[in-house]
């Protein structure tokens, strides 16, 4: 059972690296969706010993939202803005992947020293969750297109979710569901905003927004 969880964690880190190395936005959306489904499975596997209705709810809601609803919303936004790929991010793809690997190494180092309440079901959950957080932040600050930044936000949230299901399984379902609802609203609003930015300015390059004049 533990090696299955370890495998899922390695897959999680792999999806992180893939998001960092991809330039096509539709492939990135699919990868983020796969990551969401993966995390739903993690929630089930990590708590397989004491599978309650609450865990099931969190896992199923997570899979449905991240695997189906978000990709649909994001693909709709992508069709509306008519772009295909992220061009010239602030940090290139190769440095991004290397930074992702470095983030994983740092997370392993941090996780070994992090005092936790109780022992997580797998030694890899904390490092993988922390590195997912780092990768999400990296994508938010290093990509120019608003849609890519939305994806970074989702990856960041995936990191929080992984940390939650792996470590704090005593956390009340209300908090988890609240987070999921927040993220849902955020993606919904971001999709609309991206669409409006694109229609108003013919571009969703956020560097251009910085030079906006009255």
């Amino acid at each position: 059972m533990h090696s299955l969880l370890d495998t899922l964690m390695v897959l999680l880190v792999f999806t992180n690296l893939r998001i960092l190395g991809l330039s096509r936005i539709n492939a990135s959306i699919r990868t983020v969706a796969a990551q969401g489904v993966l995390l739903g499975l993690v929630a089930l596997v990590a708590n397989a010993d004491h599978l309650t209705g609450r865990i099931l709810l969190i896992a199923v809601a997570g899979i449905a939202l991240k695997g189906i609803v978000f990709p649909v919303l994001l693909f709709r936004a992508l069709r509306a803005v008519k772009i295909r790929r992220e061009v010239e991010p602030f940090v290139g793809y190769i440095p991004s992947v290397l930074a992702g690997v470095a983030a994983f190494l740092v997370s392993l180092w941090v996780a070994a020293r992090l005092p936790l309440p109780g022992r997580p079901p797998s030694d890899l959950i904390v490092p993988a969750a922390l590195s997912t957080l780092f990768v999400g932040l990296l994508v938010i600050v290093s990509r120019k297109k608003a849609l890519s930044q939305t994806l970074g936000y989702l990856v960041f949230e995936n990191g929080v979710y992984a940390f939650g299901v792996g470590v704090a399984y005593e956390a009340p379902a209300l908090v988890e569901m609240g987070i999921l609802l927040d993220v849902f609203v955020a993606v919904f609003v971001m999709g609309i905003i991206v669409f409006h930015i694109a229609r108003e300015f013919d571009s969703i390059d956020t560097t251009r927004l910085a030079t906006l004049k009255e």
Partner: protein, 303 residues
């Protein structure tokens, strides 16, 4: 040294061109063609060996040295490699460094042999080969370091023999990462798709083929068999690391090993049939990805 220990290496020299045949046959099946005969590479080698060689007046001895080293390096590397349950004829702590050094030497001489012709196309191929291998070689080192660390051995025979089913249970994900990374290196080092296309004959897009354009006859035969050996060596290394457990009987292990090589040949054929070649500026990204896998495997094992 007991001559019988050289038998696996000798058999490898004979079988290496067949491995290419397996890959080509898989690709042919995927494309719905009958494909060339399985033994086509042997026929090509025999044909080339009967021909005479033509040398340009602008070339020097460096140009003639390159084909000989290509084959010689393959033969030396075979002696360092444990094959199918039999330990390597030559084995000492840290011998995998020598294996990589030998392969690197052959590549270096092929590169300067290509530069020696003074042809601009060959210079282009040489520069590409050098930049690809500069990225691939550290990753190969990393992969072997991971395997050495996991098996706790420092000789190639020990590393290949020391990875057992228990290691796969303990560090399965890390070993899968290692195998993926090694497969990527195998494809890159042997100029296969997605890094280079062995069938292409357009000078502007080739990497390995363009470096050997000016070699002909016996020299080309030497280069071809050297390339086949190099592919065989890296494939044997990968199969040796993947197959867990040793039954104790070398003959059964050899059978398993041969089956593994056959499967790997089919896998390479499937990879070449299903994915497109990468644009040249994406190749470093591919190799950095392989390196990222190897570093992750190392981190997971050192943890």
């Amino acid at each position: 040294m007991n001559p019988a220990t050289l038998l696996p290496a000798a058999l490898s020299v004979l079988l290496a061109p067949l491995f290419l045949g397996v890959i080509n046959r898989t690709k042919a099946v995927f494309a719905g063609r009958a494909g060339r005969p399985l033994l086509q590479t042997y026929i090509d080698l025999a044909k080339l060996a009967r021909k005479g060689a033509v040398y340009s007046r602008t070339t020097t001895w460096v140009f003639r040295l390159a084909p000989i080293t290509a084959l010689a390096a393959g033969l030396v590397a075979l002696l360092l490699l444990p094959l199918g349950g039999f330990p390597a004829p030559i084995s000492f702590p840290g011998d995998f460094v020598l294996l990589i050094l030998v392969l690197g030497t052959s590549r270096f001489l092929t590169v300067i042999g290509a530069l020696d012709t003074g042809s601009s196309f060959e210079g282009m191929g040489a520069s590409r080969e050098a930049s690809v291998s500069a990225l691939a070689e550290p990753v190969l080192f990393l992969c072997l370091a991971v395997a050495a660390r996991e098996s706790g051995q420092s000789t190639l025979s020990g590393i290949v023999g020391g990875l057992t089913g228990a290691d796969w249970q303990r560090a399965g994900p890390a070993l899968v990462l290692l195998a993926t990374s090694l497969l990527a290196i195998l494809l890159a080092e042997n100029s296969r798709i997605p890094v280079d296309d062995p069938n292409t004959h357009l000078e502007l897009t080739m990497i390995h083929e363009v470096m050997v354009l000016d070699h002909g006859g016996p020299d080309l035969a030497l280069i071809l068999s050297g390339a086949a050996l190099k592919l065989w060596i890296l494939a044997a290394l990968l199969v040796g690391l993947i197959l867990p457990g040793r039954s104790g009987s070398p003959w059964l292990d050899s059978l398993l090993f041969s089956a593994g090589m056959l499967v790997l040949g089919v896998v390479i054929g499937i990879v070449e049939s299903t994915i497109a070649r990468l644009r040249l500026n994406r190749v470093p990204q591919f190799l950095v990805g392989a390196g990222a896998f190897a570093v992750m495997a190392l981190a997971l094992i050192m943890r």
